[in-house]
């Protein structure tokens, strides 16, 4: 695996996919001309290869500015940024951007181009052959659950918001970039679509292992998607940078705690699977409500409460494998928190 960002992928690599390269930001600052205080002040962070790191913080905290310095949509005033072993600031910004996937909230598809042309933009810029581009576009549309036969020759305006956002993700993945930058990509969609896009995106990321910087102001989204969360304060100051469970279990200070809100336990339950809880005997399971062992405990608790019973059944392929009650859910959360919250 090459550590060089700008090396064009040889043809035989087209079949496989390149996993991520690490990103390192060192003492990166941005001061806008005429601005008295820097928008980003001495930001230092190591983003491990293949991880999805979420920058979460209130509007105006500088999280988007920080992200946009990585592909130099915004030029840093000082500091250094490397991707793999290459210094981003010495590269030609245009060539750099062709190698970094980029997704924004307003999507920004080109309305005069078909979906296939939109997805093929970067491959075309990189000089891929028409045949290779077409093959890649088909593959990517299938990856984001859009049938190429139906959608390839449509135009962005003929698609729903959720479909457009999938195209946005496909377009960013087109040239198989090792690094992706995503600025509230699911922010403009309705809650149901958002959740489905998040699920699909997580599934995709499990396979691709890109290095992703994901910006959001939605803490629940950060917990759901992030391998790590960076809670940012004013001027992009890193208040806490850790795994979601540790941030939930041990907020660094009141600011982080306030960001988590008063439902930390519920949010935490969303990270634990039913199978990780101590299940009761199958004989105590009711006939009615049931969940799969892979379901998260938050969903299980919801079902438990709405069923008004003492326990719910845990079923795997129609077979009852156990029962789950409130005590077991609480214990599982406590165990989960302490096993990961120590360090």
């Amino acid at each position: 695996m090459s550590d060089r960002l700008l090396e064009s992928a040889p043809d035989e690599e087209a079949a496989g996919s390149r996993t991520g390269l690490g990103i390192r930001l060192t003492d990166v600052s941005k001061t806008y001309p005429g601005g008295s205080a820097p928008a980003v002040d001495g930001f230092t962070m190591d983003i491990p290869a293949g991880e999805l790191v979420v920058f979460v913080g209130p509007s105006g905290c500088g999280k988007t500015t920080t992200m946009k310095m990585i592909n130099r949509i915004i030029e840093p005033t000082s500091g250094s940024i490397t991707i793999g072993d290459e210094d981003v600031l010495t590269l030609d910004p245009v060539r750099l951007r062709r190698r970094v996937g980029y997704v924004i909230q307003q999507i920004g598809l080109f309305p005069h181009m078909t979906i296939a042309q939109n997805v093929g933009v970067v491959p075309q810029l990189l000089g891929w052959s028409a045949a290779r581009t077409a093959e890649r576009v088909d593959e990517l549309l299938r990856t984001v659950a859009l049938d190429p036969g139906v959608f390839a020759h449509r135009y962005p305006r003929q698609l729903s918001g959720g479909q457009q956002q999938r195209v946005g993700v496909a377009r960013a993945l087109a040239a198989d970039p090792p690094v992706m930058l995503m600025d509230e990509p699911f922010g403009a969609t309705d809650p149901i679509t958002r959740e489905r896009l998040q699920d699909e995106f997580l599934e995709l990321q499990r396979r691709l292992r890109k290095t992703i910087v994901f910006v959001t102001h939605d803490f629940a989204e950060a917990v759901r998607l992030g391998d790590r969360i960076a809670v940012l304060g004013d001027r992009s100051r890193i208040v806490q940078y850790d795994t979601p469970r540790r941030v939930l279990a041990a907020p660094a200070d009141d600011y982080v705690a306030s960001f988590i809100g008063s439902t930390a336990a519920l949010t935490g339950l969303g990270l634990v699977r039913v199978a990780d809880a101590e299940l009761g005997p199958a004989s105590e399971a009711p006939d009615t409500a049931g969940v799969h062992p892979d379901t998260d405990l938050r969903t299980a608790l919801d079902l438990l409460v709405s069923s008004c019973g003492e326990r719910i059944a845990v079923r795997d392929g129609g077979r009852v494998v156990g029962s789950l009650g409130l005590a077991a859910i609480a214990a599982a959360l406590a165990a989960h928190t302490s096993s990961n919250g120590g360090a």
Binding site: Q106, F110, H112, Y155, R157
Partner: protein, 230 residues
């Protein structure tokens, strides 16, 4: 029945005039069309280029729109007269002055069209790795095209009329018949001459307008014409 007076102040004998003069009328109409097309073509090339250069630079933008705005207010007769010492008479001063009049709508619509491209589209073009020139050629101009072609259409309408004045500097077109008719009012067929040429100008303008509607429809990218999803 009282005979109509043959004093040239009525359209008496219009049919006979048309039969006798149709070749000359067609020739002038063709000249008129050519001088308008040539001028609009040149003005479109210059105007789109100016628009593309200044759309995102506030000072040059104001200057070029201001200059084009002043040009359009100069009386056409005066401008042609002022050009005689420099460019002489005939086609050259005609085309130059028509180009100057045609510039404003084209420059203004190009600027408006290029600026109307949504910020998100501009940002994603930048993020994909388009250079500035590629963004302009592959994203902005195609998206701005319906607005730009409308500017060209307005310019065309404007100079179809102004082009008649070219006759004063011995330029081509239907102005010749209009002004010669007016100058000889009272003589036979004077009014016929002016009337027919004027109708021709109007018909030419309408035909060109219809042509531009067709051009706009057939050259607007399909993705911009389609209706949004319900």
């Amino acid at each position: 029945m009282e005979a109509q007076p043959l004093d040239g102040t009525t359209l008496h004998g219009l049919d006979a005039y048309l039969l006798r003069r149709w070749d000359r009328i067609l020739e002038q109409a063709a000249e008129h069309l050519v001088v308008v097309a040539l001028s609009v073509g040149i003005a479109a090339a210059i105007g789109i280029a100016i628009g593309a250069l200044v759309w995102n630079r506030p000072f040059p933008r104001s200057v070029s729109l201001g200059v084009a705005g002043v040009l359009i207010t100069i009386p056409s007769l005066a401008l042609l007269g002022l050009l005689i010492p420099v460019l002489g008479i005939g086609w050259t001063p005609t085309v130059v002055s028509l180009v100057l009049y045609a510039l404003l709508p084209i420059v203004r619509n190009t600027v408006v069209g290029l600026r109307e491209v949504p910020a998100a589209v501009m940002e994603s073009a930048l993020g994909m790795g388009y250079t500035r020139t590629q963004t302009l050629l592959r994203v902005q101009l195609p998206m701005a095209w319906p607005v730009i072609i409308t500017g060209i259409r307005v310019s065309t309408q404007l100079i179809v009329g102004i082009a008649t004045v070219a006759a004063y500097v011995s330029g081509p077109g239907l102005g010749n018949d209009i002004f010669q008719g007016l100058a000889s009012l009272g003589s036979i067929n004077a009014l016929n001459r002016t009337f027919v040429a004027t109708v021709c100008v109007v018909v030419l303008a309408l035909l060109l307008d219809a042509l531009f509607i067709l051009i706009r429809r057939s050259t607007t990218p399909r993705g911009i014409r389609v209706r949004p999803a319900a």
